[in-house]
């Protein structure tokens, strides 16, 4: 049982990273559908850096940088050239999947030593809870820390207020003298860095190897998680654990020899995503009260 909960926690870490980053981007009014591509670039860079330089910590850094750089490509087009955000995000996912496969080709079949577990002194000695919560790798702590920081940033700081203002009404924000595009650029880059970290977690902790398209739709599930969380950071944690739970339940079911075909079990995270989207969308006020009013709308300076 304890092992099961532990794996659920680990499975939800990449989702927490990616969804938290995307939430910040969306709160600034930018819909970046390229999460899957950014995660893949983060994953391959993290694996390659770890494999070549031998340190998983360098891998974490490389994943973050790769994700951010990929996001900057998106920003150049979607913000700089005011292209359609949906199509640009798709382009980023296609591009990221292709480039990560090309870069990662020499690394297929290799393995690396993943991130070591770092037990927090004293806290890790608490019975049961210590094992579950305080004996993880450094990235697992980071994911929660980032979530808390983002929640505080958005709701308790002036900069967070500006970011939300830009996302809710870019024309008013511009009239007040805020640099709309610059704020969005930072938000998108941060989102990319987080997606890169989420991607890096896959080869560094979950499965210590690289394979093409290893994110298997996690980027898209992260996008759905933002809707699930109705753009409130704290709800991402619940959502990510829920999805992690569903994913692991499927694996556990297979291990216990449930008579349901494995493919049907593998469908569960995707079907659950659809169901969750329906349940959230049914209650319009709940779904839309925090949704950024300018989400996906094009803003042009000096128009």
């Amino acid at each position: 049982m304890e092992a099961l909960i532990l794996t659920i926690l680990l499975t939800s870490v990449p989702l927490i990273f990616a969804a938290t980053g995307e939430l910040v981007a969306e709160r600034s009014g930018v819909l970046n559908l390229g999460v899957e591509g950014m995660m893949l670039m983060g994953a391959v860079s993290a694996f390659a850096a770890t494999s070549v330089l031998g340190s998983p910590y360098v891998g974490v850094f490389a994943g973050a940088v790769a994700g951010a750089v990929t996001a900057v490509v998106f920003a150049l087009f979607a913000l700089g050239l005011a292209t359609n955000q949906v199509a640009t995000g798709l382009a980023l996912t296609i591009f990221g999947s292709g480039l990560s496969g090309l870069v990662g080709a020499p690394f297929v079949g290799r393995t690396v030593d993943g991130l070591p577990v770092f037990a927090i002194p004293f806290l890790a000695d608490i019975p049961v809870l210590g094992n579950l919560l305080f004996k993880h790798d450094i990235m697992a702590y980071m994911s929660v820390a980032f979530l808390v920081i983002v929640a505080l940033f958005l709701n308790r700081t002036r900069a967070g207020l500006v970011l939300r203002a830009v996302g809710n009404n870019h024309d008013s924000a511009h009239a007040l003298g805020y640099p709309v595009l610059l704020v969005r650029f930072y938000a998108v880059s941060f989102g990319g860095m987080m997606a890169g970290l989420g991607g890096a977690y896959l080869p560094l902790v979950l499965t210590p190897h690289w394979s093409e398209g290893m994110t298997a739709g996690r980027g898209w599930i992260a996008l759905a998680l933002v809707v699930f969380a109705s753009w409130i950071p704290s709800r991402i944690l619940a959502g990510a654990l829920l999805f992690g739970g569903i994913t692991i339940m499927q694996l556990a079911g297979q291990a216990r020899g449930w008579t349901i075909p494995s493919q049907m079990l593998s469908m569960m995270p995707y079907i659950a995503t659809i169901l969750v989207l329906v349940i959230i969308a049914r209650n319009r006020r709940f779904a839309l009260i925090n949704s950024p009013a300018c989400l996906g709308r094009i803003y042009m300076q000096n128009k």
Partner: protein, 366 residues
């Protein structure tokens, strides 16, 4: 700082020029990436874009590769024109293949004259069914069609995997995940061109694809349905004032896209595979999105765009064999191409200038 001024009208030559420039820029950037990764850029480009069509059969294969792309993209054009973001054509394609395959396997003794229409109908229904899930959920509950249609793509892939490994597996297949071979009546045959003979794998489905995109062009530009689709996409408020029902249009365009994708799935299996297998589509549903944009959302343009993108796909196969590059490398080209096309669209609509930011520019704005 970039400043953009809307152009008053878009000249015709820009409409044709921008896709060409986009392709050219894609090649240059692609070559640069190859160079950076240690491949010889010119040699790579040659194996990608010249070698595959340097023989007669290559041209036939090009059309074969373009066939599912042209059919699927023609349907997607309707969606994107109406601002409905169906990106799950891949799943709809798989469902079409499954439905048609079910008919082919259930009635092995039917002659082609009844079996073929039944399979076509089944594939269209299959694609429409899968597309109706995101469409109806969007209309009824206002869910996001992007995410729902995409999630269903994963479900469809797992579903066909289960079918060909489980209930539909041929007991004589020695454990391979394959269904029984289709009977001859369920297959789409190759075309014998007069004087030349077989042109690679060129088959009758290609003719169907070309006709379909012409029908699509007619529907979009000459019928009231097409008019409504265009109005809802360009000016939804005006459309609502005119009394057009946005929900019906959403359902309609999703049905067109789903049906087309389903048909593409059936043709792909009947012409190239002859039986169902776990992978009936190699990302055609996603690639068709790029085809639709390269065609500037015009059904006739889809034919040319389909051929161009098909060349990149063939090139990817060739580069895999000759240069040992992974298959996904075409994704790099496809992604860059889509970026360039979108940038070109901005360039078409706006006059772009680089302006120094500073007091001067502030003054000029006054």
């Amino acid at each position: 700082m970039i400043s953009m001024t809307p152009r008053k009208d878009i000249s015709l030559y820009r409409t044709f020029l921008t896709p060409l420039v986009a392709i050219l820029l894609t090649l240059v950037i692609g070559a640069a990436i190859f160079d950076f990764l240690g491949f010889n850029p010119l040699e790579s480009l040659y194996h990608f874009f010249v070698a595959p069509i340097s023989r007669y059969d290559g041209i036939g294969d090009l059309f074969v590769k373009a066939c599912p792309l042209i059919i699927t993209a023609t349907g997607l054009v309707f969606c994107y024109r109406a601002n409905v973001w169906n990106i799950g054509a891949e799943g709809q394609l798989v469902l079409g293949a499954i439905f048609a395959g079910g008919v082919a396997l259930a009635f092995p003794d039917w002659p082609a004259i009844t079996l073929m229409p039944a399979m076509i109908l089944a594939s269209v229904i299959g694609g429409i069914c899968w597309a109706m899930i995101p469409a109806l959920l969007k209309v009824r509950f206002n869910t996001n069609e992007i995410l729902v249609s995409l999630m269903l793509t994963y479900v469809a892939a797992l579903f066909i995997d289960w079918l060909v490994r489980g209930p539909w597996r041929d007991p004589m297949s020695f454990g391979f995940p394959l269904t029984k071979m289709y009977t001859d009546a369920a297959l789409i045959h190759r075309i014998e061109v007069p004087f030349i003979g077989m042109l690679g794998q060129l088959h009758w489905g290609v003719v169907g694809a070309l006709m379909l995109s012409l029908v699509g062009a007619f529907l979009l530009s000459r019928t009231i349905l097409g008019y409504k689709v265009r109005v809802m996409g360009d000016a939804p408020r005006a459309g609502r004032f005119a009394g057009f029902n946005p929900n019906l249009i959403t359902i309609g365009v999703m049905a067109i896209a789903g049906g087309a994708a389903g048909l593409a799935g059936m043709i792909e299996v009947s012409a190239s595979m002859g039986q169902l297998q776990p992978n009936v589509s190699f990302g055609y549903g996603f690639t068709a999105i790029i085809v639709a944009f390269l065609a500037r959302l015009n059904p006739v343009g889809v034919i040319f765009a389909g051929l161009i993108v098909a060349l990149a796909e063939l090139g990817g196969d060739n580069a895999q064999i000759v240069l040992g590059m992974p298959k996904v490398v075409t994704g790099v080209f496809k992604g860059i191409l889509l970026f360039m096309l979108l940038a070109g669209e901005t360039y078409n609509r706006y006059q772009i200038e680089w302006r120094r930011v500073g007091p001067q520019s502030a003054l000029r704005e006054q």
